[in-house]
Amino acid sequence: MSEKAEIKANVISNKAIGPCFCKLSLRIPEQYYPIMSRFLPGQFAQVAIENLGSPANPRFSPRQSVLRKPFSFSSVEITKNHIIAHILYCVLGPGTEKMTTIKAGDEINMIAPLGTSFTVSDDLETALLVGGGMGAVPLQSLAEYIHKNHPKKKMIAFIGARAVKGLPFFHTHDHLEKGKIVTEIEEFEKYGAKTYIATDDGSAGIKGFVTELLANKVSELSIKPANTMIYTCGPEPMMKAVAGFAHKNNFKCQVSLERMMACGIGLCQSCAVECSQPGQTETVYKLCCKDGPVFDSAEVCW
């Protein structure tokens, strides 16, 4: 049986969250359950945008797109009776701007589920989720997955953003801890993951980089590399820093990368990721859409 397919999903809602972020919620029709129930966290969809209109006064220079656009799932709720999938997207250009015109009741054509997923081994004890900006999206589905399938494992999430405005996908709430204001993120807390936030301007959580936060907490909480996995997704420089931290401290680390993708299904070779090969000096280009988006951070040539 095929592992991925063209899926026509029904739009439940497409809500703006702040000026440039949106949440698209989809109901997957029954005929696609065999495909979509194979979804694993970190996998993504290629969403068709050609038939969409543009808003009346677009912010971005118009582009008449033929290609699909790749998006991670922030959550895929699978029960016997329904599958609901959520995509969180940031309006960055003409394609994502077109997506803001999607309405409840519309039909969306996507190819899914695509690519590799985050993996959770049985001997894992602690999962460290390190996300930056939009990169927190696939980590949300990872937290959901671990909570559901491995409820005993410990999760800690570290989320970085430029400012508190960069966290609009999240329901945050502040409370006092040892006399300091601590901002927590419901989306991770609800799966039992303790959250820590770092912002460049200190407008939420600590002021600084999420990598510093990670390093500090790992030492503060004496988290040991054995039986711990770092999962990270975010801007490439951030992931590079996290991978560097992991490497230096002997942590295993899975990274979810992004590339410009024409097909998302292994046809075009546009999404190359330079990787080292065990025991060889020569590097190879792997495909982000097929061999990734989730890679072992140690194999990626940063």
Binding site: V66, L67, G95, M260, M261, C263, C268, A272, V284
Partner: protein, 310 residues
């Protein structure tokens, strides 16, 4: 209701059950589309360009979207002919559709060497010669613009190809495509495929750099279709028809209507490239649409349609 049409075609001596093939570089090597369709239903399958040695290709970004199209600068990333033979040929054997291997290189000897390695492979129906890739610095495009070189490389590869047919793929970036087409025919080409992409550039105005790491890339997709239809018609009238040589038409096809335009213009068969990225099954929809059109128009054999432009 409609009369049944025979839509099978003879392309350069190879029988295709219908006139629709994949386009090189947009369908992988063999099984990449299996999740979406049974490729045995295609008229033919044209592999990615294969070179003598494996190639990693260009740094990323390798693609960028444009209006009704895209640029690519993949840089002929491929596993090389050895791994192609050991890893892909066994899978090709399991398929029941004519496979054409697209051949690329930097000097004539490279092309000849790859072709010679594959000339005796039963699993391969024929070759397509890529002398027109705009994304490789050292060679490629220069071959494709010089009639003298085209004739020479075609002749040498043709003799390496043994009994297998050789299709020569032309670049649109020339003053007179009939001259390059004629050169390929003189060199012994059994078919012509056109068009490859146009060299093009997208600039990121914030960084003032080209978006593609390779700076330039090849423009493909619906944007270029009307140019491709014109060039197919020109080469059909001026070269292919007089010489009795078939044309494989491509450039921006994404619907049956597009494919039929190329056939009316003079193509015996068509290839679908960029559109497959957006609609992996679109070749099958195009095949259905062609059969439907022929039925509606009382066409008994699709050959009646080829070059039927009035």
């Amino acid at each position: 209701m409609h009369s049944k049409t025979d839509i099978s075609v003879d392309f350069a001596g190879v029988r295709l059950k219908n006139p629709v093939m994949t386009a090189s570089g947009t369908c992988g090597y063999v099984d990449e589309l299996d999740d979406f369709m049974d490729i045995n239903l295609l008229g033919g399958f044209i592999t990615k360009s294969i070179t003598l040695l494996p190639r990693k290709g260009n740094p990323v970004p390798r693609i960028v979207e444009t209006n009704s199209g895209m640029l690519n600068a993949i840089g002929l990333a491929n596993i090389g002919v050895d791994r192609f033979i050991s890893e892909k040929i066994p899978k090709i054997r399991e398929k029941n559709v004519p496979f054409f291997v697209n051949i690329a290189g930097w000097q004539i000897d490279d092309y000849v060497a790859v072709t010679a390695r594959l000339a005796d492979e039963d699993a391969i129906a024929g070759f397509e010669l890529n002398i027109s890739c705009p994304n490789v610095k050292k060679g490629g495009i220069t071959f494709g613009t010089d009639p003298v070189l085209i004739k020479k490389i075609t002749a040498e590869v043709k003799s390496a190809a043994g009994k297998k047919p050789l299709i020569v793929k032309l670049t649109p970036g020339v003053t007179d495509i009939s001259a390059t087409a004629a050169a390929a025919v003189e060199g012994g080409a059994d078919g012509l495929s056109l068009i490859n992409t146009f060299t093009a550039m997208v600039i990121d105005i914030e960084s003032r750099k080209p978006v593609l790491a390779n700076r330039t890339g090849g423009l493909s997709g619906p944007a270029i279709k009307p140019i491709a239809v014109y060039l197919v018609n020109k080469v059909y009238k001026e070269v292919a028809k007089p010489a009795g040589i078939p044309i494989l038409g491509l450039g921006g096809i994404r619907t049956a209507s597009d494919a039929i335009e190329f056939i009316i213009a003079g193509a015996t068969a068509v290839s679908v490239g960029t559109a497959t990225f957006a609609q992996p099954r679109c070749c099958l929809e195009i095949i259905e649409g062609i059969a439907d059109y022929c039925g509606r128009h009382g066409i008994k054999n699709i050959s009646e349609l080829t070059g039927s432009l009035q």
